[in-house]
Amino acid sequence: MSINKSIPHDSGIAHVSGTARYTDDHPLPANAVHLAFGLSQNAHADLTSVDLSAVRAAAGVIAVLTADDLPFENDVSPSIHDEELLSSGSVHYVGQPIFLVVASTHLAARKAARLAKVIYAEKPALITIDDALNVGSTFGNPMEFRNGDPETALKSAPRQISGAIEIGGQEHFYLEGQAAFALPDEGDIIVHSSTQHPTEIQHKVAAALGLPYNAVRVETRRMGGGFGGKESQGNALAVACAVVAHQLQRPAKMRYDRDDDMIITGKRHEFRIKYQAGFDDNGKLTAVVFEHFVRCGWALDLSHPVADRAMLHADNAYYLPNASIVSHRLRTNTQSNTAYRGFGGPQGMMGIERVLDHIAHDLGLDPLKVRKANLYQTGGKQETPYYMEVTDSISAELVDKLAETSDYVARRAEIAQYNANSPVLKRGIALTPVKFGISFTLTHLNQAGALVHVYADGSVHLNHGGTEMGQGLNTKVAQVAAHVFGLSVSAVKITATDTGKVPNTSATAASSGTDLNGMACKAACETIRDRLVEFAAEHWNVAADTISFDTGKVRVGNTVLTFKELAAEAYQSRIQLSATGFYKTPKIQWDRMAGRGRPFLYFSYGAAVSEVVIDTLTGENRILRTDILHDVGRSLNPALDRGQIEGGYVQGAGWLTMEELVWNDKGSLLSHAPSTYKIPSCSDTPEIFNVALWDGDNFEHTIYRSKAVGEPPFPLGISVFMALSDAISSCGKEYVALDAPATSERILRAGDKLRGDAW
C-alpha cells in the first residue's frame, strides 16, 4: 500500500541538500541574456515621451524593446486581452512595464532599467475602494445571487443588525520570485517557467510569437511557492523571454527582484463587505443581505471568478434561508489583483463570520452558540444561496467534536475570569468553521490528463498536467501510480510538467491538483495494468482474477514474479506499456449569470479554535493556542495534508493580523519588501498547535475518497481574527467592529474606542 501513508515529499532530500533545481538555478549557455522591465512611476497617465537613450547606452545593454518592437500580440492577460506586456501609450498603475531591457547580466539589466527619462501626462488615479465608488469605476455590472425573499424577511425579523467590514488584501510572498527563461529551438521555442499554468504560458507565448501552440513547449519542474500568485502573473516574464529569445536567437532569462515582484504583480483582492441580517432570539438567521465591494486593480485578470467565489462562500458553513449577495467589481489604478489561495472564498466567509459575531454580541450569547444554530444540517437538503443542495455537511459533528477536544467551554470561562483580573492583557477565544467548495467554477477547467510509461525494466515514468509548488502533488500522484502497480513510491519517477507530454491542461489551482491529476494518473496506470493482466492471464494461462500486484511482486495464479520480470515479458510479447489517462469531474453544472446550479462536486470541511492574548496598551498580540479538526476525506498522505493545514492556517492568520499592504495617495505601494510587509515568522506560530484529521471518507468518488486540501485550511485563520475581536470586546460594551488586518494599531484603536477613548 502506498496510499494513506505519510510518505515524505518526493523532493525532500533534494530540498535539504540544495540540489532541487528551480527555474533560476538552471545553467544556461554562455550567450544567454538577462531581462528587466522599466516600470511606470505613475499610477495613471499617458506617456508623453519615453527617452531610452541612457538605457541603451548603459553598460552591458544589448537591446531595449518597447511595445513597437513586439511582433504579434502585446498581451499577457489570462482573461480579456486587457493587459499589455509593454505599455503602448498609457499606464494604469505604478509598476506597469513600459519597456524591456536586454543585458548581459541580471544586475546590468536592472541598473539600466532605471535610467529612462519618461514624461507623463498625468490623469486622475483611483487608488482606494472609495475612489472607484465615487466615479463608478467598475468591471461590468454588479452580480447578484439571490434565494428566498431577503428584503421582506429582513423587515419581519425579530431582531436586526447591520454594519460593514474592511478586509485587506495580501501579498503572496512565495519565497521564490517570478522567474522564466526561453531557449530558441529551430524556429520553435522552449520555455521554462515558475508557473502554476504551463498551458496558459504556452498560449500567451504562441500568440506573442505568431506561432501555433505546437511550436511552443513549456516545462515546469517545481515552484518555490505559488499560492495562486503564479497562476497568471508569470505570463509577462515568460512572454518577454520568448520574444527576446526568438528575436535574438539567444537564450533569455528573467527574474523579478523581490521589490519589483511585489510592485508589479497582483495580490489577494481587498474587500469591503456591507451587511444586514435578521435573526431570532437564539441567533438563528432569517435573512442576510451582503454587498461586496471588490478592489480588482487596473486589469481584469481573474477578478470575475475570484469575486464569484467570494459570493459562493458568503454562506460559509451556514444555512442562509433568505439571502441576497451583490458583488461590485471595482477598477482601480493599482496592481491587478489575482488568484490567492482561497480565490475570494476567505473574504466571502469573513462576511458571514462577522455577521454571526455581531449577532452574538447583540444577543449577549457565546458566538459559538450562534454559529452552531446556523450550521447546515447533517444529511440535509438545505440549499445554498445558489441553489445547490448541501448533502455532505459534517459541520455540526465536526464543530462539536472540536469544541470538546479543545475544551472550549471551560477555557472560555477561564478567559472571562482572567480578563476580569487583568487590566492590561486580555485574552480571547473563538471557534470558526470552514466549508469550502471543490471544483473550478468554470466547469470546463475540471479536466486533467496524465501520461504513464512502464519501461522494460519495470521502472515507471509519471507525467501529469499538474504543477508542483510545494503542496506535495507529485508525491500524492506518485502514490496513486505506485498503488495501482503494487510498487513502492520510489519506483515511480516523477517528471517535470511539460506541455509536450500532457496537453490542454488547467492551472494547478482551486485545490484541484490531486483530485484531477490523481484520477487521470489512476486511469492511465489502470490501462497499463489491465493490459498486463490480460497478457499475464493468457501467457500463464490463468484466470485474470488470480492476478494481483503488491510490494513490487505480481502474483499470477501460483506463479510469483517481480514487476520488473513481468514488464520485460510483456515487452517481449509486444504489449503496449505506455498509456494516457483522462479525467473530468462528474455531476457539476453551473450558470453563473443566473447564480444557479451545482458548481462544486463536494465540500471540504474544517474548524479551528484559536486563543489569543492582546496588550491593551500597545495592541501587541499573540496566538497562544490553536486546535484544528479538518476534513481531508480518506487522506492519501496524512503528513502532507497536515502540512497544508498548519501552513494554511498560519498564512490565513497572517493575512488577518500583521500582513498589511499600504499604498500612498499616489498609488505607490509602500509595503514592497519583507522589511515593510511582514509575514508570520517562526515565533508567531501558536505555542500549542493541535491538528487532527477528521476520520471519514469523501461521500463522492474522488481519488481513493480523499478530499482537496490546498485552500480549505486557509480560512481557519479567521478564528484568530474573531478571537482578537473577542479579546478586545472585554474593553467595553459596544460591538468591536474590527477591520482586517487586525494590526497592533487597529487592535489598540478598537480597544480604546470601546473604552471611550477614541483617537
Binding site: 515524505p8 535539504v16 540544495g18 512565495y174 519565497l175 520570485g177 498548519e646 501552513g647 515565533s683 506560530t685
Partner: protein, 465 residues
C-alpha cells in the same frame, strides 16, 4: 593588487582582486554554480540565502549563520564559508537535513537551504533557542511547525565528523590588506590615518545597511574600507564604572556581553534584526549610521551611554545623545569614526521597549527606553529616549521635566504621559500612524510604571494552557 582567501566548503579559495561589492550570494550562484543558496529578497530579510561563516573568536572556532545576499566577498577574507552543498560529506545527510526530511519540514523547498544552514550553525554551537535561531528565515508554506519539530529532533543528535576546520583556517596565509577598490586594514592606527586622508570613503562593517545600497539602490560604491578585520574594534572591557564595547563588536556579541546586566536591553537585542543580521551588523554601525529608526541608540541614550570618536590619533568622548544633530547629520568630522561605546553601570531598572508589527526581525514603529531614578519615593532624575518618533533618536525632555522632582506616583505618571505630544511630532508611515506612535509612547510610560511596581504585563510572557 591583492587577493581574498577563504575556505569554501573546506576548499581553500584565492580570488584575485574580486569586485569588492560582489555579493557572496551572486558569487556562489553565478561564479561557482552553487545554486543551493537561494535569493529570496536580496536585502537580508528572508534568510533564503543563509550560509555559515566560521572564524576564530577568542580562541574558539565559532559558526555563525549570515545572509550571503548582503555580504561582500572581502568579508570572507580569512574565514570558512559553508553552504548547503558542504554539510553532507560522503553523501550522508547532516542531522538537521535528516530531521527536516523526516519531519516534513520542507514543502516548496525554496527557503529550505537557508533554514538548514541556520539550523546547521546553531547545531554546531549547541543552541536550543530554535525560534530565535529561525527568526531570520521566512517560510511561507509550512507555518514553521514541522521545522520546529525538526530543529528539536536534530538538536538531540551528535555532531557528525567534519574536517579540521580550525586547522584549515590557520593554514590560510593572509598577506595583503587591500584589493583593488577596497582597503582591508588589520591595524587600527593605520586605518585611522588612512581615513583622515580618505574622509569620503565608504566604511563597511557588517554591510547590513550598505549591502542594500548595492542590491537595492544599485549604487556603484568606490573607495571602500572593510572594518571587520580590525580586532582592536572588537574588544569588550568591563571596569568599575561600566562596560566599554568596541564599535566592531557585532550585535550578537554585544547581546552575549550584556547578559545579566540589563534584562530589557538583552531582550531588545534578542529581537533586533535576526540572528543573521546580528551576526554581521555591528554596534558601531548601528550607532554611526544615524538612522532615526535604529533600535540601539534610543535604548543606549536612556542608559546614559557615551561614545568615543576618533580622528587620526585624536579621541574625544561625547554622550551618545549629543551625537545626533538632525536627520542624517551627526557630530562627526570628516575622517572621524566611532571607535567605542561606553555604557555606565546602573541598576537594572531601565525599561526598554520595542514595538513593531511583528515581534521578530521587524523595524520598530517605536523603540526606546525609560531610565527613572527614584529616591525616597521621589523622582530625582529621568532619561526617556525614543527612536521612530523624530528625525533622530531623541529624548523626551518635556516629559522628563514633568517627572523630575515629582513624587513617584500614578498622578505624576498620568500627567507626564500627556507631555509626549510636546516632545514628539512623529510621522505616519507603513509601520504606523503618527497617532499610534504617540499613543504607544504614552502608554509605554504606563507600562514602565507598572513594571517598576511589580506588575509587568507582556504578551510574550503569556503561556497557553
Amino acid at each position: 593588487m591583492g587577493d581574498i582567501r577563504f575556505l569554501l566548503n573546506g576548499q581553500p579559495m584565492v580570488l584575485e582582486n574580486p569586485d569588492p561589492t560582489l555579493t557572496v550570494l551572486d558569487w556562489l550562484r553565478e561564479a561557482k554554480h552553487l545554486t543551493g543558496t537561494k535569493e529570496g529578497c536580496n536585502e537580508g530579510d528572508c534568510g533564503a540565502c543563509s550560509v555559515s561563516l566560521a572564524a576564530m573568536e577568542d580562541g574558539r572556532l565559532v559558526h555563525r549563520a549570515v545572509n550571503s545576499c548582503i555580504l561582500f566577498l572581502p568579508h570572507l577574507h580569512g574565514k570558512s564559508l559553508t553552504t548547503v552543498e558542504g554539510i553532507s560529506p560522503n553523501g550522508k545527510l547532516h542531522p538537521v537535513q535528516q530531521a527536516m526530511v523526516e519531519h516534513h519540514g520542507s514543502q516548496c523547498g525554496f527557503c529550505t537551504p537557508g533554514i538548514v544552514m541556520s539550523l546547521y550553525a546553531a547545531h554546531r554551537e549547541g543552541r536550543q533557542d530554535h525560534n530565535d535561531v529561525l527568526a531570520g528565515n521566512l517560510c511561507r508554506c509550512t507555518g514553521y511547525v514541522p521545522i520546529q519539530r525538526a530543529a528539536e529532533a536534530a538538536a538531540k543528535q551528535p555532531q557528525p565528523e567534519f574536517f579540521d576546520e580550525a586547522a584549515a583556517l590557520q593554514n590560510l596565509t593572509l598577506t595583503n590588506d587591500a584589493i583593488d577598490g577596497a582597503y582591508l586594514p588589520t591595524d587600527l592606527d593605520d586605518f585611522a590615518n588612512w581615513y583622515v586622508k580618505n574622509p569620503n570613503a565608504t566604511l563597511i562593517a557588517g554591510a547590513t545597511e550598505v549591502g542594500l545600497e548595492v542590491t537595492k539602490a544599485l549604487k556603484d560604491l568606490t573607495n571602500l574600507a572593510f572594518l571587520n578585520r580590525l580586532d582592536a574594534l572588537k574588544t569588550i572591557a568591563n571596569d568599575d564604572n561600566g562596560i566599554r564595547i568596541g564599535a566592531g563588536v557585532t550585535l550578537s556579541q554585544l547581546r552575549s556581553a550584556m547578559v545579566g546586566k540589563h534584562t530589557d536591553f538583552v531582550e531588545m537585542l534578542r529581537r533586533f534584526g535576526s540572528v543573521q543580521v546580528r551576526n554581521t551588523g555591528t554596534i558601531g554601525g548601528n550607532i554611526a549610521n544615524g538612522s532615526p529608526i535604529a533600535d540601539s541608540p534610543p535604548a543606549l541614550i536612556a542608559m546614559g551611554a557615551s561614545i568615543t570618536l576618533r580622528r587620526g590619533d585624536k579621541q574625544r568622548e561625547i554622550l551618545l545623545e549629543d551625537f545626533y544633530l538632525s536627520y542624517g547629520v551627526q557630530d562627526r568630522q570628516p575622517g572621524e569614526f566611532v571607535e567605542s561605546l561606553f555604557i555606565p553601570n546602573q541598576p537594572d531598572t531601565v525599561g526598554i521597549y520595542k514595538i513593531s508589527k511583528r515581534f521578530d526581525q521587524d523595524i520598530s514603529a517605536v523603540c526606546g527606553g525609560f531610565s527613572i531614578t527614584i529616591e525616597n519615593d521621589k523622582i530625582t532624575n529621568s532619561i526617556i529616549a525614543f527612536g521612530g518618533m523624530a528625525a533622530t533618536s531623541k529624548r523626551a525632555k518635556t516629559v522628563e521635566a514633568a517627572l523630575n522632582g515629582q513624587p513617584w506616583s500614578e498622578a505624576t505618571i498620568k500627567a507626564a504621559m500627556q507631555k509626549f505630544a510636546d516632545d514628539f511630532t512623529p510621522l505616519s508611515d507603513v509601520r504606523g500612524t503618527a497617532d499610534y506612535r504617540l499613543k504607544i509612547v504614552q502608554n509605554l510610560l504606563w507600562r514602565y510604571w507598572l513594571a517598576r511596581n511589580g506588575t509587568s504585563a507582556n504578551v510574550l510572557a503569556e503561556v497557553a494552557k
